[in-house]
Symmetry: C2
Subunit: 205 residues, 2 copies
Amino acid sequence: MPQGVPESIPNDGLTTRQRRNTPVLGVHTGDGKGKSTAAFGMAMRAWNAGLNVAVFQFVKSAKWRVGEESALEALGALHEQTGRGGPVQWHKMGQGWSWLRSSSEHADDHAAAARAGWAEISRRLAGEEHDFYVLDEFTYPLDWGWIDVDEVVDTLRARPGRQHVIITGRRAPQKLIDAADLVTEMRKVAHPMDQGRKGQKGIEW
Amino acid sequence: MPQGVPESIPNDGLTTRQRRNTPVLGVHTGDGKGKSTAAFGMAMRAWNAGLNVAVFQFVKSAKWRVGEESALEALGALHEQTGRGGPVQWHKMGQGWSWLRSSSEHADDHAAAARAGWAEISRRLAGEEHDFYVLDEFTYPLDWGWIDVDEVVDTLRARPGRQHVIITGRRAPQKLIDAADLVTEMRKVAHPMDQGRKGQKGIEW
């Protein structure tokens, strides 16, 4: 594990402190496992550092609940009770975001629901509401053309303060990759699903 | 996210239930970020499923403490207090494993310390002491020839019961990859360290 030793010192006129405090835009893409799991692992680390964490899952079903959601909510509750770590919010698109007045809003229009999600995230970024954002499976509405990639990249590049953003999903648009500081491709080498196994609790969710 | 839909049904004579209950051997390798973080994310998910979790970090310094360690310990403490989730243990090689009588044992011999770690894990696997093991950065003592790869693969293949094992680190030996059910290569596409940034709390640790 690299303990913060940079491979080169850039000639960018910034001090080490300024560089250290630069907010990170990360992308986890590729066909392999671990894109979301690594992002949620980073969220756990961010919680421990006292950062204000918000997860936005661009998934179809609000019923789908991964173990990380319960675990991060437990950590968020621990923060409420003891002050340890940071606060945690977890929002799912599902049939409509949790902050919407009616759960039937956008019920039949996933594209509109995805756009509403991004509009809210954009608003929160402008208001510096969180320190660490996970935009889980956000590459899909970008890939499908539901949300404009240029607008997303412009908003992310112009975000104020020190807000870290991690975006996960396959087929990340090249413009997003170009804008990111940290891009990892999770490449599948072998997976039990290939052998006809079904997922199991504690491993797959 | 695949909700447990296998790509093919194998002709292995097993029922779906038997396949579902098959313990997983996973390997996270490659030069990219997220190998350990995804493993710790999986540990968080395993905790939520009530599994008995044990992390063994094959790192040089016991002082080096990642945020995930504190967060998973908080979840383990929550289990002790409320029964929620599962128990969590976190062991670090450092100058000597926490279970050793003297912290000076193996102080100057990292190879001996690594072998002592594997001997203990091997013993615990035989006794089915945990449900979910993370062997973090375990590929290095294998790669360096400190621990015999054949013996590790044989022990992992023959492990009794339903014990999941996730191994992380670069340069995973081919025999280990061949024995694994789930292998992901984390490939580096871009990283802030390349731009001369130093790591920062909440992001890198």
